[in-house]
Symmetry: C2
Subunit: 134 residues, 2 copies
């Protein structure tokens, strides 16, 4: 039950991009270096974040990436779901996969945990991240 390394890297990359001066673009090399992310893996992640509408990419020598919207309008949930799909803390949260839904002892617990973590991920955005560097 752990966030994937891919989603962790995506959060770190977006956090870095979110701190750039308005109008500045971040190159793959710059992000990789600043956040210790393997370059090829990062390139794949940034492409997916662009396809998901979180980043905008600009081609060319002076190209790079910027956020598609203001940092405060990009949440941790947006980035995590772009990498992993819908957050489901247990398989059965979406729908019971066995025949014991009525008397289930497990599902109610995970539905509650799911609600709490999704709420927290939705509340946390890149305009208000803790310890944000200026």
């Amino acid at each position: 039950m752990q966030l994937s390394r891919k989603a962790d890297y995506a959060l770190r990359a977006v956090a870095f991009i979110a701190q750039l001066e308005k109008g500045t673009l971040a190159s793959i090399g710059k992000i990789a270096l600043a956040r210790d992310i393997p370059r090829e893996f990062l390139a794949k992640i940034l492409k997916e974040l662009s396809r998901s509408g979180i980043l905008v990419s600009f081609q060319g020598v002076t190209g790079g990436y910027r956020l598609a919207r203001p940092p405060k309008e990009v949440t941790f949930l947006d980035v995590i779901e772009a990498m992993e799909g819908p957050v489901r803390v247990n398989l059965c949260v979406e729908g019971c996969h066995c025949d014991h839904e009525d008397g289930c002892e497990i599902r109610p617990f995970f539905i509650k945990q799911q609600e709490q973590i999704v709420k927290a991920m939705k509340r946390q955005n890149f305009g208000s991240i803790n310890g944000m560097r200026t």
Copy 2:
């Protein structure tokens, strides 16, 4: 970021065993049938739960499994950690794996989520599970 199927099955198996009359043993076949768990996978899980001190196994034709301690003394965290090792909602929760600990925007969020989910898993035991059948 999802509980493994193995841990989910383990929770369901322990929930079933926790509801047995005191002194009753549950066979692999009975648990597998009652909770729709593939029998071979279940056998592996029950062995690991015994090794972790959560279950006690009895050999022989009339053998089977029972809890090693009262249901209220077995928590969801015990079972999940027996299957997956220590709960870490993100890699960096235990210790920062990059060079940005001082100004990290990501780690504080996951440390908080970690604390909350571990607390909830520790509080939830098999003597007080929701919807418990009698």
